[in-house]
């Protein structure tokens, strides 16, 4: 395991009053409103484990065991949408001149890049994620795994901390383990967006690991046990439904062309001049090259 501290390129946070047309109840023709269905495919040697913080009585190999419980909605395995949004926002904050959301330095009248798109206290965001549910019946299974006991990580002077895909190093050669429920398989979710510019959509897709080039593609990290290199998922687009600027439903090649167009808009923007090298650094880390 390695926990990496990353810092943004030097620059000031620009806070602006979000224009009135960013209100969620009015769709502007010049901007994009719609939803993008996404497939979250957990890698072969990986799992995702969004914990509830509770302990539960479950079974492992025919024996009863007390394990940390994973999230479910009415008994169905889910990855909470709030967790997906948080994972994407973290990368988006790193790749923009944005505030530390815990500092409460932005408000409804003065928002940085990330607060404008993802929301801040008093102003709803323009992007949301549904809870991810199994792609089809039987596509997700729940297992109980022994995971290494976490310990307080060292403090790093940085803007954002990310974990790579390496397993945790043994300390003193005697690491204890915890029983934890985990998910394996494929989930589906939907990202909904309102009044978003093509550049913002392109940056959003890049922050989910959608890069058109190998150097900007990576695995999004969801759930717990990231300290042991777990939680990596491949995010794949399935269907785009646009309500604005024109009604349209795109799949397959047409969908790929549309998304590539948004990413290219971001690539050609002023933002890329500052942040593209940092995006490649993040992608290298989360792809496992580090």
């Amino acid at each position: 395991m390695a926990r990496h501290g990353l810092t943004r390129p030097t620059g000031e946070i620009h806070r602006e009053r979000p224009p009135d047309h960013f209100d969620h109840d009015r769709w502007r023709k010049a901007l994009f409103t719609g939803s993008l269905s996404l497939c979250l495919k957990i890698l072969e040697d990986q799992f995702v484990s969004p914990s509830t913080g509770r302990l539960t009585l479950t079974r492992k190999g025919g024996l009863e065991v007390v394990a940390q419980e994973v999230a479910r909605a009415a008994g169905t395995p889910v990855i909470p949408g709030s967790g997906i949004k948080g994972a994407v926002r973290t990368v988006y904050e790193l790749l923009s001149f944005s505030c530390d959301p815990f500092s409460r330095s932005c408000d409804a009248h003065a928002c940085c890049d990330a607060c404008s798109l993802f929301g801040v206290l008093g102003r709803s965001g323009r992007v949301s994620f549904n809870d991810a549910r199994p792609a089809k019946d039987g596509s997700v299974r729940v297992e109980v795994r022994e995971v290494p006991m976490p310990y307080p990580p060292p403090r790093l002077e940085c803007d954002v901390c990310l974990y790579d895909l390496q397993k945790i190093q043994q300390r003193n050669g005697d690491r204890k383990t915890l029983a934890r429920e985990v998910f394996l398989g494929t989930f589906e979710t939907r990202m909904t967006f309102w009044n978003v510019t093509p550049e913002e959509l392109g940056r959003l897709l890049l922050c989910m690991g959608f890069g058109t080039a190998e150097s900007t593609r990576f695995f999004l990290r969801l759930g717990g046990v990231k300290y042991d290199g777990k939680g990596a998922v491949t995010v794949l687009p399935r269907q785009l439904v646009l309500a604005s600027p024109s009604r349209n439903t795109l799949q397959g090649d047409a969908l790929k062309r549309e998304l590539d167009g948004w990413i290219q808009t971001a690539r050609d923007s002023e933002w890329a001049k500052t942040f593209w090298p940092k995006l490649e650094e993040v992608a290298g880390l989360l792809r496992g090259a580090a």
Partner: protein, 161 residues
Amino acid sequence: MSKSQVEIVNNASLLATDLQGAEVESKSAFLSIVGSFMSDPTGDIKRLRHMMTLLDKGSGGHLDRGAGFGEQARAVIREVGRLLDRGEWQPDELKSVFGWTARLLQVRLPPRRKGPPEPSGGQAPHHQGKRQPTKPLGGLSGKNLDVLKSIQPPKPDDEKS
């Protein structure tokens, strides 16, 4: 439910006091153990008891967790076990007791602590710590507080007269 709300709150208050006396510093460890029972529609008390027994024997390795969780979990198992030993609880009553207990653990300061906890590194600066109750039942409020006050045991002077 056969128990009145006052009995439930009184039991919750006693349980919270016992837990805090046993160094359970917040509701986290408590809810991690009783949370699955509280969200289970059937409210299987035997299952809760069985889970606590396995946990106490070391199942899953959770008692080896650091940051004081293990000690707090042992205290929760002991004190909740005592409550269950009385064998007088319906599932809904027990859920209500646990809900009130969690609330009291959140709003009451542990008896031995003199001030709000030191903010730990990396935590959000807006966290203000727990509020200090000014009265013995400061964690409770509103109608239930009035009811509880009215059932306080009579003072020794009253007994003499």
